[in-house]
């Protein structure tokens, strides 16, 4: 029997033991605390404990499980809320009350609930890894497809259960492997969380993840299977942006990882998502959401694991052919968990106390995103959107910098925009997306032929405004020539009317691509008509007095999402107004 030798916070050591392997899951102490082996040498086995170690004593037993830390995958994951090591929090609450106790053993999935299962294979079929052998409705919008685990060698189906009601642990199918062994298949399987699930091949990325957020969809779009980081100091709206994306992006399933963040935020997600109705399916958003909540006061080692648990769940559903978006809020807390554990292990620190393996861990995580052809032959994707909380709002700190190297979309949140209550506070000059070129085709075919050009013109206006603002800051706007004044006013319309988006307004919270495009077109129409009027001798004051800037700013509220044809009216009216202005000038001259 192996016994505890020493305890320091979440790190426990066992002296002179040969029974444990690296990354093995073990139970520590009389309370059987869930733990993982993180270091082995001839003198000591080092173990990190995923629960509180208060009251643990040297000499208490340590029991190995022989398996790596793994997640249980099967129906019942969607709509659930788990902690960092996939323990369902609702069952924990029933077991230990409102405050989480130690050593509570609960099954990750509901073992009592029966699912109505349809077998998709017959006796005599061959089944290979990744292929579906049965399906069952998991929620009203998600059909669960049980696949042969990638760990299996596959084989011939020798028995199938009749279609009917089964629990996750019931055997529904038996196969005979080429070596003649029989394998029993239930509705669930295990997968080690730190190992990426395999796929047949990675496919090129060329479809956008449509979020309905204008600054994202047009200025810095993310692709399905892509990666994005949202860095921002506190109060800049990281969580708010994540919530908006989780609510509205067109993924099939959302995995929301609350990693070291506030408890009340998770409660908010739980409440809001069960009340909000997904416009595509008419079902509550919870029906496509799984939450991993390891709040900042829950054990730090489970926080480290929560990221891996989340992405493993996502990959599992990807393998069924779904598109999944992961919101990781916040990856900085995860990096800090790495730092904390590294400190307890007395490892040599690199930058700011973070371990030297920080960049490799970050890249391993983001590389698990992708658009793939699954082993079963269908297509699926995992997109990762990670929030980063830079220390002191300083983007040069190690987590932000290393994240920036491994993501292709960077949505920088800006404190001064947040202070001015410009939300989403995504800074349009320092944010970028490397997916623009990959997605250009999609936008051209599905939104408008000239979408990319329109987008470019809008972004040019913003860039020019940025340069002009340097002068305005020094000398005031009055010294500018008329055409530059017009540009500044147009840029204001872009900023306030287009980039600013009201998450609490029923129409403005999600805006379809079509409307985004029409809004940009209308702004550009105003700008070009304005310039023409200037050339014809109109004063910039009279153009501004026409009130079109105010009209444009209010379009987001005035034109409902389902009435894009109203843009034609606006456009015609603007033409008319400018014609009248031109006429007035001509008469005056």
């Amino acid at each position: 029997m192996d016994r505890i030798y020493s305890i320091n916070g979440p790190v426990v050591k066992v002296k002179r033991s040969r029974s444990f392997s690296m990354m093995e899951m073990v139970y520590v102490g009389n309370k059987r605390l869930i733990s993982e082996v993180i270091g082995v040498n001839s003198e000591f086995t080092t173990i990190q404990v995923y629960e509180g170690t208060t009251g643990l004593m040297p000499g208490e037993p340590v029991v190995g499980t022989g398996a790596a830390m793994s997640a249980l995958l099967g129906p019942g994951i969607i709509t659930n809320i788990f902690d960092g090591i996939e323990r369902p929090l609702r069952s924990l609450a029933e077991l230990t009350g409102a405050f989480i106790g130690d050593g509570a053993e609960v099954s990750s999935l509901d073992t009592e609930k029966k699912y109505s299962v349809t077998l998709t294979v017959r006796q005599g079929d061959t089944l290979s890894a990744g292929q579906v052998y049965c399906t069952c409705p998991e929620t009203d919008v998600i059909t669960h497809r049980c696949m042969l685990s990638p760990l299996s060698k596959g084989g011939e189906v020798v028995w199938t259960a009749p279609d009917g009601e089964y629990t996750v642990n019931d055997v529904v199918c038996r196969i005979k492997t080429p070596r003649g062994e029989e394998e029993e298949l239930t509705l669930c399987q295990r997968w080690p969380i730190r190992t990426p699930r395999p796929c047949a091949e990675r496919l090129p990325i060329n479809r956008p993840l449509i979020t309905g957020q204008r600054v994202i969809d047009t200025i810095a779009p993310i692709a399905k299977g892509g990666t994005a980081a949202i860095p921002g100091g506190f109060g800049t709206g990281k969580t708010m942006t994540q919530h908006q994306l989780a609510k509205w992006c067109d993924a099939d399933i959302i995995v929301y990882i609350g990693c070291g963040e506030r408890g009340n935020e998770m409660t908010q997600v739980l409440e809001e998502f069960s009340e909000l109705i997904d416009p595509r399916t008419d079902r509550p958003l919870t029906d496509r959401t799984v939450l991993i909540a390891n709040t900042s006061n829950m054990p730090v080692s489970a926080r480290e694991a929560s990221i891996y648990t989340g992405i493993t769940l996502a990959e599992y559903y990807r393998d069924m052919g779904y598109h999944i978006a992961i919101m990781a809020d916040s990856t900085s807390r995860w990096a800090e968990a790495l730092r904390e554990l590294s400190g307890r292990l007395e490892e040599m620190p690199a930058e700011e106390g973070f371990p030297a393996y920080l960049p490799s861990r970050i890249s391993e995580f983001y590389e698990r995103a992708g658009y793939v052809k699954t082993l079963g032959g269908s297509e699926g994707s995992v997109s990762i959107i990670g929030a980063v909380s830079p220390q002191g709002s300083d983007f040069s700190e190690p987590v932000t910098q290393n994240t920036k190297r491994f993501v292709r979309c960077f949505w920088a949140l800006d404190k001064s925009l947040a202070y001015a209550r410009h939300y989403p506070a995504i800074n349009w000059t320092s944010s970028y997306s490397e997916y623009i070129d990959d997605l250009a085709d999609y936008y051209r075919k599905n939104v408008a032929e000239d979408f990319m050009e329109v987008r470019q013109q809008i972004s040019n206006i913003l860039v020019e405004e940025n340069t002009l603002m340097e002068i305005v800051k020094l000398m005031g706007a009055d010294v500018l020539p008329d055409d530059q004044k017009l540009l500044i006013e147009t840029a204001r319309a872009v900023r306030v009317g287009f980039l600013q988006q009201n998450a609490y307004h029923k129409d403005d919270t999600y805006v379809p691509l079509e409307k985004q495009y029409r809004m940009m077109k209308l702004i550009l129409q105003f700008y070009s008509l304005g310039r023409k009027a200037l050339e014809e001798g109109a004063a910039v004051g009279s153009i501004i007095d026409m009130g079109w800037i105010e009209n444009i700013i209010k379009i987001k509220y005035d034109i409902p999402n389902d009435k894009p044809e109203m843009f034609d009216e606006y456009s015609a009216r603007m033409d008319k107004d400018f014609a009248a202005l031109g006429g007035g000038v001509a008469v005056g001259a």
């Binding site: 405050f99 109060g235 800090e336 973070f354």
Partner: protein
């Protein structure tokens, strides 16, 4: 059988090590008896088969390797709890220091608490009326929220805390008890006296539990102080269904104590010498605010911290801001111009505000009024920086009206005074009146219906003597 160990093996700062011990649990408490008969408390911070490291709360002064006897208590630190704690004063480690003797405990609780299960939390919705316009209107305090005050040395945070304690009212007044738990960590003796005196003068002492750790008390005790305070708060809130407001001051002193303790343990430091687990440690305190499903009480926290060198990016305010649900930032410039409370509006924020205000809580127009005040005041700072370059005379009429708005806003809205207690109606009406000094077209966060109802330039001109 009770085992006692004679002597120590090593003394290093607040830490002592004992060799040849057995059967000791992590986080367990121990009592050290010196040869002169005095007693000290310690806690196990590291344990292995034959060695235990203890942190000694009262400090290691006077300890030698031979003059102590150590007895382990076999359980983590527990605080005796009772409803009688109201009106009493305790040391930072939870011992009564007001000379009224021990309390008669109803139960004992581990001061470290346990994490609250997110599914058992109730999302905080109802607001606490502080009577202070800037806070009520722009960064509303919600029951179950943690909203820190970021201040600097010499600013009026203590005065503000006292004013909040004196004026704070639970919005719906449903007859439930409302009480304050006050945790002072490393505060100066006269500051502690100021709080005590203020509580007495306002007659609120009977609903206050005080935990006092002065700046000359041992630092290890300082690490316990907020934990004791929060344990008492949770007990009163969730077992006696009271609404508890916890005021913790000064969190910077707490974090420094943690740093001192960490470096004496020889841990690897992260930023500015603070331990890598500062975030988790602060979170284990702040996250103990909230509302639990099925209990009618709540724990609301107002931690106060002084930003060293007024630097908001210093690790303590920085990490605090990431955990808490907003912040109230005090500003030295405003303070110097005599504005009280010197609340710096733009960097201040209450994250839970949006769900706890409006119809049914404060007033239906609250959100709109607040949004517009924020947006307008943000433009004031643009206009001011422009004016400092080109001179006020050269500004456009629009910018001038913002400058005027800024002055009036600071004078009438923010600068409220220590003795003024405004209702939420008064506060919001004042907000609309101030907004009415701006041209109507500038109110871009307000819809037409509300402009119609609240915009009255003539009345504002009379009111502010324009």
């Amino acid at each position: 059988m009770e085992l006692k160990y004679i002597g120590l093996d090593e003394i290093n700062g607040p830490l002592v090590a004992l060799q040849g011990v057995s059967g000791i649990g992590y986080d367990e408490m121990a009592e050290l008896r010196l040869s002169d008969g005095s007693k000290r408390l310690g806690r196990v911070v590291e344990v292995s088969e034959d060695r235990a490291v203890l942190q000694v709360f009262e400090g290691t002064k006077g300890l030698s390797l031979g003059n102590t006897t150590t007895r382990f208590e076999g359980k983590p630190m527990e605080l005796p709890l009772s409803k009688e704690m109201l009106g009493r004063i305790f040391s930072g480690a939870g011992k009564p220091i007001d000379g009224l003797g021990d309390i008669y405990p109803e139960k004992y609780a581990d001061i470290n608490g346990k994490p609250l299960n997110p599914v058992s939390r109730e999302y905080p919705r109802n607001y606490i009326n502080t009577g202070i316009s800037s806070i009520d209107a722009l960064m509303t305090l919600i029951r179950g929220q943690k909203l820190p005050i970021f201040s600097g040395s010499g600013l009026s945070h203590n005065k503000l805390a006292v004013q909040i304690v004196r004026q704070a009212k639970i919005a719906d007044e449903d007859g439930q008890d409302f009480a304050i738990v006050f945790g002072a960590m490393g505060v100066k003796n006269d500051v502690a006296d100021y709080f005590k005196r203020s509580f007495e003068e306002t007659g609120s002492l009977q609903r206050v539990v005080m935990f006092m750790n002065m700046s000359n008390d041992p630092i290890i005790e300082r690490i316990l102080t907020p934990r004791c305070a929060l344990t008492a708060a949770e007990y009163l809130a969730f077992e006696h269904n009271m609404h508890i407001l916890v005021i913790l001051t000064d969190m910077t002193a707490y974090a420094e104590a943690l740093r001192e303790f960490s470096s004496s343990k020889g841990e690897i430091p992260a930023r500015k010498g603070y331990p890598g687990y500062l975030y988790s440690d602060l979170a284990s305190l702040y996250e103990r605010a909230g509302v639990v499903k099925g209990a009618s009480g709540s724990v609301t926290q107002i931690p106060i911290l002084t930003m060293p060198n007024d630097d908001i990016t210093h690790p303590v305010p920085d990490l605090t801001g990431y955990i808490t649900e907003g912040q109230i930032v005090l500003d030295r410039n405003l303070d110097q111009t005599g504005v009280y409370p010197a609340v710096s509006v733009l960097p201040s924020l209450s994250r839970l505000m949006k769900d706890g205000i409006g119809e049914g809580y404060t007033r239906e127009d609250h959100q709109m009024c607040a949004n517009q005040l924020f947006a307008a005041y943000a433009k004031v700072s643009d206009a001011r920086s422009l004016a400092s370059v080109i001179g006020e005379e050269e500004l456009s009429a629009n910018d001038k009206s913002y400058l005027r708005f800024g002055r009036l806003f600071e004078k009438h809205f923010i600068d409220q005074g220590f003795d003024v207690n405004r209702t939420i109606e008064q506060t919001l009406d004042l907000g609309w009146q101030l907004l009415s000094t701006l041209p109507k077209s500038e109110l871009d966060r307000v819809d037409d219906e509300h402009i119609e109802r609240f915009y009255d330039a003539k009345k504002a001109a009379v009111l502010f003597g324009l």
